[in-house]
């Protein structure tokens, strides 16, 4: 069964960048890429599709990344969803808060595409 990766970011370019970065995985492995443009949309997708890995931006309209992360992690059925928080915020408190909510990683912008690729492979066990 194909692995599902969800990218949630309101910034179109970031979304594109991540998509293009991860396309490589689509080509090589059985991976499907999905995108969402805000927190609510992202949460709806997670609930509906149960992705394996989510790249989740924090500052987003409608519902921020922390909120999404919290709801997902509180849901018994979704706890195995691996969430990587992506944000421009680099403060210690932010990092701590994110990890305490149950995110697997916290990556700050600007990030290196190679790093994203490597992390994704690790997370998906590819």
């Amino acid at each position: 069964m194909a692995k599902k990766i969800l990218i949630v970011d309101d910034e179109v370019h970031i979304k594109m960048l991540l998509e293009q970065t991860l396309e490589e995985l689509e080509d090589e492995y059985d991976v499907e890429l999905f995108t969402a443009s805000d927190g609510e949309e992202g949460l709806a997708f997670i609930r509906g599709e149960h992705p394996d890995l989510v790249f989740l931006d924090i500052m987003m309209p409608k519902m921020n990344g922390y909120e999404v992360c919290r709801i997902v992690m509180e849901d018994e059925g979704l706890r195995d969803v691996k969430i990587i928080l992506l944000t421009a915020k680099g403060q210690e408190v932010d990092r701590k808060q994110g990890l305490e909510l149950g995110a697997k990683m916290y990556m700050t912008k600007p990030f290196d595409p190679d790093e994203i690729l490597k992390v994704s492979k690790d997370m998906l066990g590819l």
């Binding site: 370019h13 960048l17 210690e92 912008k109 600007p110 595409p113």
Partner: protein
């Protein structure tokens, strides 16, 4: 002759007189009584002898009677043998008594007839005794020859009886005469001593009367003089300078009277002189008052005019009549008011007068009064010290006219000022608004900086990410398609351009991160973490991470040269890593050949020290402090050709971080030789730090020095006198003692002597800190004079404890052979430059900053106050090493 002496002489003579009379009386009494006593004694003796004689005669008669009666019993011979010797003996004794009396011849002092009578009686008595004796012998013989019955015997016996009777009668007579004599003597004594007593009393009384009369005479004389003098003095004091004391004698009263008269005379002369002068002064004053250009009126305390000058009369024209001495203020005011002179008084004269009086009494403020002739008068009122009132009237007509002109100008000016004020108020409002706006802007700046985080990084993310993807795709897909040389060349250029975009983007990212970091720290929003950090781990990690930077620098080695076990420090591991990375990347960046070496150890002050030493190009001295400034980069010569590398914020951030964790960061460098970056951090466990004992009786000084030392990372103990210092030194073994000299109880000198005597404590360096200029001989290793400059104090402490890496260079005055300098290597490490006095001033002129060590022996040869006054240098006075103590050179850390 003086009165006192007169008194003394009179009293003396009286005393002598009384004493004489008393002595004579007492002496005569004594003689009389002595004589009477003698007489009585003689008489008594006579009486006693007479009685004795009487009793012996009776015994003789008894023997004679016994003889006669016992003849029959004993026989004549027996009676004779027994009684005749007895009789002879008793009679002999009586005869001897009479002879003693005669021989004594003690009747010379008795009245003539008594002595003669007694003598005669004694003659008769002796004769009678003899006769009695011979009659008895005859009786005894007759008793033997004729017997006791014979008439001859009886006759002889009768004769003997008669003789005995006469004899006893004689003795009795003598005894009676003696008794009479004694009685007479008693009576006579009583009589004559009574006479003597009355004479004595009479003469004493007489003497007293005489004395009283003398005293009374003297008293009268003195009292008269005193009364006279006193009344003269009283008169003089009452002011009658004509009074004179009329005492005509050569004693003290006479002289006193002369003095009083002389004094009175001089006072009269003085008074006359003073009166003359006063009159002159008064005249002069009146003339002066007349000469002044203002009206002058002087009133006494009863408001009566004393004087009014010509100008006053001139100003109050027509009022001359009332301006005479004695006129009251009210009269003067009323007169001038009614004369119509004062415009303000017209039609309301009474009210005006009341106002004037009120001003006069309460010293109201000066008043301008318009006069009816067009002039203006300014009236001022003053009070003199003795309650007199001075009224000064000034003609201010001219001034008033000028003032009118001025008033118009002023009015214009006021308008102008009002206008200006309005503008200023507006400006102030604007400023306040601007201030508010600035504060808003500051908040905005904070908000901006935090949003920059997001807003700048997001596009950077796209930029960097896409450039990388493009490069990847391009390399993977398009480069293999480039089959022509031209296409390949172009492809390679595109690749390198994309790489530039990537690296520049990364630089931009670093800059943004650094700016955010620094602004967060500076605004105090940084959330500092304090955990116990093992610096050895940090160093290993940082060196490992930095080794990646060496890739393009094949001729540079990165090594951990020294890594001692060091205590943990309180800090944030990530922040320390950040600092280390910054230092290492800087060192690598500026080094082309050689080595970047890292040392980690515990320095002489007990601080954990990190050193990053490189063999790079070094930093110019004038840049060495500025490298810690924001956006400063050393060696930026030509900004057009030399490309800046790094953000220029790294060291600024590092310094903020290190200082936040109570550490210090500084650079040492030699241009072209390399740079040493030093970081010290206090160990988490303070017991590892060297201990300094601060001894001072002044709590403020103790606290100040302790604060300075603690700030440098030393452990501090404090003592307030020598005794406490000795106890603490023995117990805590400090690395250094800062010693005051003048302290209550045991002072500094004594304490230093005691410390030096104690073998275990003798090696502790002592820094004398005292107000006394002459405390170099107190025995300390170095001396600082209060008030102590913080840098000088810490510099001295570092030098004495022997921190080999003293941050500031040291100049030592005097050559290697200079006294005391042999200790310098031990005190100051290797960075000592020796120089002469001239060289010293030359180097100071060239801007030398650091410590100057002056051996005490050379202190006089240079201008020490000038040297101490230079803010850039610390002066350390090194006392001479006494010949008997070994030079101390063992304190290097």
């Amino acid at each position: 002759m003086g009165v006192v002496r007169k008194f003394a002489a009179a009293l003396g003579s009286m005393l002598v007189l009384i004493l004489l009379v008393a002595a004579v009386g007492i002496a005569s009494l004594f003689v009389l009584e002595k004589k009477a006593g003698d007489i009585v004694a003689d008489s008594m003796r006579l009486q006693r002898l007479a009685l004795e004689m009487d009793s012996r005669l009776q015994l003789a008669r008894q023997a004679e009677r016994d003889f006669r009666q016992r003849i029959n019993d004993l026989g004549l011979a027996g009676a004779r043998r027994v009684y005749v010797p007895e009789f002879s003996q008793r009679l002999g004794e009586a005869g001897r008594n009479a002879a003693w009396l005669r021989d004594m011849g003690r009747f010379g002092n008795a009245p003539g007839d008594f002595a003669a009578d007694t003598a005669a009686r004694l003659e008769e008595l002796s004769a009678s005794i003899e006769r009695y004796g011979s009659l008895f012998t005859r009786v005894v013989d007759l008793a033997g020859t004729v017997g006791v019955e014979n008439q001859a015997f009886i006759r002889a016996h009768g004769e003997m009886e008669g003789e005995y009777l006469r004899l006893t009668s004689l003795v009795r007579q003598m005894a009676t005469a003696a008794t009479d004599r004694a009685r007479d003597a008693h009576q006579e004594i009583a009589r004559s001593s009574g006479l003597a007593r009355s004479m004595l009393i009479a003469s004493v009384l007489l003497a007293l009367m005489l004395a009283a009369s003398i005293i009374s005479v003297i008293h009268r004389t003195v009292a008269r003089s005193v009364v006279l003098l006193s009344s003269t003095a009283t008169e003089l004091s009452l002011g009658n300078l004509e009074a004179r004391a009329m005492v005509d004698s050569d004693d003290e009263f006479g002289r006193l009277a002369d003095s009083i008269n002389g004094m009175a005379h001089r006072i009269t002369a003085l008074v006359n002189d003073l009166e003359g002068r006063a009159a002159m002064a008064s005249d002069r004053l009146v003339e002066a008052i007349d000469a002044i250009s203002e009206g002058f009126l002087l009133y006494d305390h009863r408001e009566r005019l004393i004087i009014a000058n010509t100008m006053a009369k001139e100003l109050f024209r027509g009022a001359e009549r009332v301006l005479r001495p004695g006129a009251t203020v009210e009269e003067v005011c009323r007169h001038v008011a009614e004369s119509g002179l004062f415009l303000n008084a017209m039609g309301r004269e009474e009210a005006w007068v009341r106002e004037r009086l009120e001003r006069h009494r309460t010293l109201g403020p000066p008043v301008d009064e318009p006069l009816s002739d067009g002039r203006w008068a300014l009236i001022k009122t003053y009070r003199s010290g003795r309650g007199e009132t001075v009224v000064v009237v000034t003609d201010i007509t001219e001034r008033k006219r000028a003032a009118d002109v001025l008033a118009t100008r002023n009015s214009n000016l006021e308008d102008l000022v009002r206008e200006r004020t309005k503008v200023l108020v507006e400006k102030a409002m604007e400023l306040r608004e601007a201030n508010t706006r600035l504060m808003e802007l500051d908040e905005l700046k904070s908000a901006f900086l935090s949003s920059v985080s997001h807003e700048l990084r997001t596009p950077l993310t796209s930029l960097l990410g896409f450039s990388k993807i493009i490069r990847r795709d391009f390399t993977k897909v398009f480069m293999p398609l480039a089959d022509t040389g031209e296409a390949r060349r172009l492809g390679e250029r595109i690749q390198s351009n994309l790489e530039i975009i990537g690296s520049e983007g990364e630089r931009l990212t670093r800059l943004i991160n650094d700016v955010l970091d620094l602004s967060r720290i500076e605004s105090g929003r940084e959330d500092w973490r304090f955990t116990e950090v093992n610096l050895a781990g940090c160093v290993n990690r940082a060196v490992g991470a930095a080794s990646g930077l060496l890739a393009p620098k094949s001729q540079v080695r990165l090594t951990i040269r020294r890594m001692d076990p060091v205590p943990l420090v309180h800090a944030d591991q990530d922040r320390i890593h950040q600092v280390l990375m910054n230092l290492l990347s800087n060192a690598i960046k500026f080094t082309e050949f050689g080595e970047v070496a890292v040392d980690l150890y515990l320095d002489g002050q007990g601080m954990v020290r990190l050193r990053v030493e490189d063999t790079g190009r070094g930093i110019r001295r004038r840049d060495i402090e500025q490298i810690f400034d924001k956006f400063h980069q050393a060696h930026r010569g030509d900004t057009l050709t030399e490309k800046p590398s790094g953000t220029g914020l790294g060291l600024a951030i590092s310094r903020q971080i290190i200082e936040h964790y109570q550490g210090r960061i500084w650079a040492e460098s030699r241009l072209g030789r390399g740079t040493i970056m030093n970081v010290t951090l206090p160990p988490a466990d303070p017991s590892d730090r060297p201990l300094v004992l601060v001894v001072d009786d002044d709590p403020a000084t103790r606290d100040y020095l302790s604060m300075l030392l603690k700030r440098e990372g030393y452990g501090v103990h404090a003592a307030c006198d020598g005794e406490q210092a000795l106890v603490l030194a023995a117990r805590r073994r400090p690395a250094l003692i800062s010693m005051d000299i003048l302290m209550p109880g045991m002072g500094g000198r004594e304490a230093i002597r005691a410390l030096r005597r104690d073998g275990r404590l003798a090696d502790i360096p002592i820094l004398v800190v005292s107000v006394m200029d002459a405390c170099h001989d107190a025995g300390g290793d170095a001396t600082l004079i209060k008030p102590v400059n913080a840098d000088a104090f810490i510099g001295a402490v570092h030098a004495l404890i022997g921190d080999s890496a003293a941050p500031r260079p040291v100049l030592a005055l005097g050559g290697a052979a200079g006294p005391g300098t042999c200790r310098l290597p031990g005190l100051c490490g290797e960075s000592v430059t020796r120089c002469s006095v001239d060289e010293l001033w030359a180097m100071l002129g060239d801007g030398f900053e650091g410590t100057v060590v002056v051996p005490e022996a050379m202190a006089d040869s240079l201008d020490l106050p000038r040297l101490c006054g230079m803010g850039s240098v610390q002066v350390l006075l090194l006392p001479d090493t006494p010949a008997d103590t070994p030079a101390k050179g063992t304190h290097s850390g």
